[in-house]
């Protein structure tokens, strides 16, 4: 209880950590809307994005969110993700922009043929940078969290990018209190991470409390999967080589993170509700990003990708 010295008639409740994190995020989101000319919210369709999107809806209620949502479609996302994305945007009245690397797509770039590094570079990083330039966005929200990965733990909430969209970890702007430096020159931009300080558990807890819709792939179901280099990869379409598809077995699995289906491993699970997912998370012995194939390309690979402009 707070001791409100001059006013005994009110006894406000102390804010819980989630309410405090929520307030921090709403403040950040409003600050961007107020200070930038042309911001965009990057939407990955994952659970973290879903939370960020809800926070944006909260920030401007009862009004509409004054910036669009953009999805960089690598063309290898799970079909269920795309379906979810379109339904969500329509239901909640978002202006949704979808961009992809047309050239690379037409040239047939994909993880099975070109490997994860080339695929991610062309279909995700390059596509994102081209979209940023095309729309001249001067700020882009991302749903990254600092507890996900070591290099993210050191990134500012307002993360400056030069005109080549590069991150310079050794030369970050000091960031104090809740005063964010939003000034950029033409062509430069800021990546903004409103849920930097949330943990994986905070995200699940918030989804639970706020009833935020998420892609059903997060919950267990019998799905056709193939074992590839120790990862359980789901057969999501015909583009998976036939010799792999032929090995597919039905297994009760779910996904801890969502991305390109050939690069996202499933885990054996029967967790069917948020509570069961959290229970599994608390007792499971692997951290979240181990199911992401791209993190293991090389030592410090996320830091390298971020320097090149990846989120």
């Amino acid at each position: 209880m707070i001791d409100v010295a001059n006013n005994k008639t009110i006894s406000p409740q102390r804010l819980s950590h989630l309410k405090e994190l929520e307030a921090e995020a709403i403040h950040i989101i409003r600050e961007v809307a107020a200070e930038f000319e042309n911001p965009v919210m990057l939407y990955s369709i994952g659970k973290d994005s879903s939370v960020m999107v809800r926070l944006a809806e909260k920030a401007f209620a009862p009004g509409k969110v004054p910036f669009p949502l953009m999805h960089i479609d690598s063309k290898w996302k799970f079909n269920e993700m795309i379906e979810f994305r379109d339904n969500y945007a329509e239901k909640f009245g978002w202006n949704l922009i979808v961009e992809h690397n047309k050239e690379a797509f037409e040239a047939g770039v994909g993880p099975f043929t070109h490997g994860s590094k080339v695929h991610t570079d062309l279909m995700k990083t390059k596509a994102l940078l081209a979209a940023m330039d095309k729309h001249r966005f001067d700020a882009a929200f991302g749903g990254a969290r600092r507890d996900e990965e070591k290099s993210r733990a050191k990134e500012r909430i307002f993360s400056f990018r030069d005109k080549f969209h590069q991150w310079d970890p050794k030369n970050q702007r000091p960031e104090l209190w809740d005063i964010y430096n939003a000034r950029v020159h033409k062509g430069e931009s800021i990546r903004v991470f409103p849920i930097s300080n949330w943990t994986e558990l905070d995200v699940w807890q918030y989804i639970r409390l706020e009833n935020i819709p998420i892609v059903p792939l997060y919950f267990a179901k019998e799905r056709p999967v193939v074992e590839m280099d120790g990862n359980l990869i789901m057969v999501d379409d015909e583009r998976m080589p036939k010799e792999l598809r032929d090995q597919a077995k039905m297994r009760m699995v779910r996904f801890r993170t969502l991305g390109c289906y050939p690069l996202t491993g499933a885990i054996d699970s029967s967790a069917n509700s948020i509570e069961e997912v959290v229970e599994e998370m608390m007792t499971i012995t692997k951290s979240e990003r181990t199911t992401r194939v791209i993190d293991f390309d090389q030592d410090g690979s996320m830091e390298q990708k971020k320097r090149e402009g990846y989120f």
Partner: protein, 477 residues
């Protein structure tokens, strides 16, 4: 964990509050080891992170056969190679009682800049000293910065007690040394704990090797220290962040309650206009509230239609901030480029951005000795701290930093590089009448430019938007 009732766990987890903590100490004080242990012992470390850690420890670890906890917190490739921490890193862990965010900052190179960056939001600081060396220059420096930032709770963790046979005398002597140092500082709550980060003594559990110590273990203390009274609930300050006009019937002012408490029906004054009205409603996505407190983000609607825009501030009429263009502050220089007295900086204070000129650098502070240096030559360089007086183009609505962090803090932005050049903590209104610095204001005489009246509104809108960015235009209609 096996018999865990997950619903109960989640319901309990939801109620926890958040403590932000700063760790200060040099490379050799065992700071990263301590953080690693807090994370490890509070079961935050997942098995695969541990696997990777054991692999890394053998390759580049500095802890011999033991796990090198420092590798957990040293994130970036460059610093793993050099074996130093180069910037602020954030770490997260939770216990049954509380959630924690640790800002880990290096103790040596660029220490001031990094520590100031990491500590601005901290509720509590852990200052590590080596039991073998006791209070040293760095301890003094870190404690000064903690005091400057207004962090109210400090734990002096006397580490490496294992190397001093857990000798009570050693501990007591260091406590006395630190108490002398504290006399020059403003830190209201200090707790002293003898620990061994490497072996875990008094970190999570009380150690049997310090029977003479009757205080809490470190984790116990940071789990329980009350922080909810640290916020300012008296002075209502509501910097308007964004004006929401979804339709003709709704005009809401979005903002964060910086301090104080606002209730429905309260009479509020808008600064700088001085116009008053009553709070009609406190709107959120989750419904209307009867009252709001810091750091809640809400939208206020008022009974009367008064002109309010971003950068304005709503306050209670009987509790006003200082309104002035002349300000004194402690300034920390954060930029490689040194202070140029001829430069007009942008100043961002709450949600208000305007221009600022430094008038004088009154004195500098030696962070190692806390001595004031009168000879300044009006120069400030990276990592230097000074008392300055400055003037701003538009009035700011502020309080002393020591009374109100939210309305007592600001940043200076270089208008050319856009870097955050300096950060400041307001000490008061500047008494000197310094009007030597004149702000160049552009004047647009619309009638004499032959501009039709129908365009006035559009031009005014553009000028308002420029003004919010710190560029003032004097409009003649």
């Amino acid at each position: 964990m096996a018999n865990l009732d997950i619903k109960e766990f989640l319901d309990n987890d939801e109620q926890k509050d958040l403590l932000r903590l700063l760790t200060a100490g040099s490379v050799d004080d065992g700071k990263s080891t301590l953080i690693g242990r807090l994370l490890f012992d509070s079961k935050k470390l997942y098995e695969d992170q541990l696997d990777a850690l054991q692999r890394d420890s053998k390759r580049v670890g500095n802890a011999g056969e033991n796990i090198d906890y420092a590798l957990l917190t040293d994130g970036l490739k460059a610093e793993r190679e050099q074996g130093i921490t180069i910037d602020v890193a954030y770490r997260y862990f939770s216990t049954n009682k509380r959630k924690f965010i640790i800002a880990d900052t290096p103790g040596h190179e660029q220490y001031t800049r990094n520590m100031i960056t990491g500590g601005s939001t901290a509720n509590l600081a852990i200052v590590l000293v080596d039991a073998r060396t006791g209070v040293i220059t760095q301890t003094r420096r870190h404690s000064y910065l903690i005091s400057l930032l207004g962090i109210k709770h400090v734990v002096l963790a006397v580490n490496k007690m294992d190397l001093m046979n857990f000798d009570q005398e050693v501990f007591n002597k260091i406590v006395e040394e630190y108490k002398i140092l504290l006399k020059d500082l403003n830190i209201p709550d200090v707790t002293y704990i003898p620990i061994s980060a490497l072996d875990g003594d008094n970190v999570v559990d009380k150690s049997s090797r310090t029977p003479w110590y009757d205080g809490p273990a470190l984790l116990d203390f940071i789990e329980c220290v009350p922080i909810d009274k640290d916020r300012n609930y008296e002075q209502f300050r509501y910097p308007v962040q964004y004006v929401l006009r979804p339709n003709l019937d709704f005009r809401g002012f979005c903002g964060k309650v910086a301090s104080g408490i606002v209730k429905k029906g309260d009479t509020v004054m808008s600064l700088p206009s001085g116009k008053t009205s009553k709070v009609k409603s406190i709107v959120t996505y989750d419904g209307e509230l009867e009252m709001a407190m810091p750091p809640q983000c809400v939208t206020l609607t008022l009974e009367d239609e008064i002109d309010i825009s971003r950068g304005d501030m709503l306050v209670h009429v009987d509790n006003m901030p200082t309104v002035s263009r002349n300000i004194e502050a402690m300034l920390v220089w954060m930029d490689e480029e040194k202070l140029d007295m001829d430069k007009q900086f942008y100043i961002k204070h709450t949600t208000r951005t305007t221009r600022a000129f430094i008038d004088t650098v009154q004195y500098k502070v030696n962070v190692n000795t806390m001595e004031q240096i009168a000879e300044t030559n009006n120069i400030m360089q990276l990592n230097e701290i000074a008392k300055v007086s400055f003037s701003v183009a538009q009035e700011l609505f502020f309080d002393k930093y020591s009374d109100n962090k939210q309305t007592g803090s600001f940043i200076l932005i270089d208008p050319i590089t856009n870097n955050t050049s300096a950060v400041g903590m307001i000490t008061g209104e500047s008494t000197k009448d310094k009007s030597t610095n004149s702000f160049s204001v552009i004047t647009l005489d619309l009638p004499s430019l032959g501009i039709d009246e129908e365009h006035y509104m559009a031009i005014e809108k553009v000028c308002n938007s420029l003004s919010r960015q710190g560029v003032d235009v004097n409009l003649i209609k």
